[in-house]
């Protein structure tokens, strides 16, 4: 089994580098269409973690949508988690969410802080 797997390891890495951005654009288009986002940032933060270069495992999304109007934070987050359910089940390991209404976004300083640094718990 390991003999079969070993030669493939390099290929997996090469593939990951070339397909980088596939998940990212998938996340982007899903959020854009389903939430009618007025502003959207999809930030791949995987490089901050102990994963191969070009990975798409750790993301931060900043979503400004009128659909969040009247919804408490937890419901906004659940909405996004639900839209990205497939991605979260198939490789996206961390998803940091900033969810604001257009009004909240206009009133905020529109500053997006970087996520906390990794402490090595990935995959363990």
């Amino acid at each position: 089994m390991s003999i079969i797997l070993k030669p493939g390891v390099c290929n997996i890495h090469r593939n990951m580098a070339t397909i980088a951005g596939v998940i990212e654009s998938q996340i982007r288009s899903k959020l854009l269409s389903q939430l009618e986002a007025k502003h959207l940032d999809v930030i791949n933060e995987s490089y901050m973690h102990n994963v191969p270069k070009g990975s798409e495992t750790h993301f931060k999304v900043v979503v400004v949508s009128p659909k969040f109007e009247g919804l408490p934070l937890i419901k906004r987050h659940r909405l996004i988690n639900d839209i990205l359910k497939e991605e979260l089940q198939t490789g996206v390991h961390a998803l940091s969410i900033m969810a604001k209404t257009p009004q909240q976004w206009d009133e905020s300083d529109q500053n997006v802080e970087s996520s906390p640094s990794c402490k090595g718990g990935f995959g363990k």
């Binding site: 934070l73 987050h77 940091s96 900033m98 718990g121």
Partner: protein, 147 residues
């Protein structure tokens, strides 16, 4: 004929066996979590332990709890794969850390951070009889100013 029969029947048998095993092991972890979150006012499911968090998001939650001097029960999901998956299923939330107050799922790192910044966390803690250290500090500052 005999082998054909065995081939078709065996997979069915082994599948039902798997399903029944799974539902048997599922129940206890759900019950266990239920007990944990209902028996403690504040519970944090995290990666690592409060003195040595093993994920930045878990660490951020620990720091927030420390600032408010909240007594809480913590559980390391890295110590048990059952718990790691079990807690995600229990709260229908895909990521760790997870915070529960009074048996209710409150959110993960982002929500805790925002509740901390907006002052909402102080209010939520008050509801369950926990006075945030930040509130105590604020009050003593006000008293000083009044003197």
């Amino acid at each position: 004929m005999n082998t054909l029969l065995r081939r078709t029947i065996f997979p069915i048998y082994s599948n039902t066996l798997k399903i029944s095993c799974r539902s048997l092991t599922d129940a206890p972890i759900k019950e266990q979590i239920d007990k944990i979150v209902k028996n403690n006012k504040v519970v944090v499911f995290m990666k690592g332990v409060p003195d040595a968090p093993r994920c930045g998001f878990s660490n951020a939650v620990v720091q927030i709890m420390r600032m408010h001097a909240v007594p809480y029960d913590s559980h390391d999901v890295l110590s048990s794969e059952d718990l790691r998956q079990g807690i995600k299923d229990y709260s229908n939330w895909p990521t760790i850390p997870q915070v529960f107050i009074n048996g209710e799922f409150v959110g993960g790192c982002d929500i805790m951070l925002q509740m901390h910044q907006s002052g909402e966390l102080i209010e939520e803690l008050k509801k369950v009889g926990i006075k945030s250290a930040l509130l105590t500090a604020e009050e003593s500052k006000q008293k000083e100013a009044e003197k």
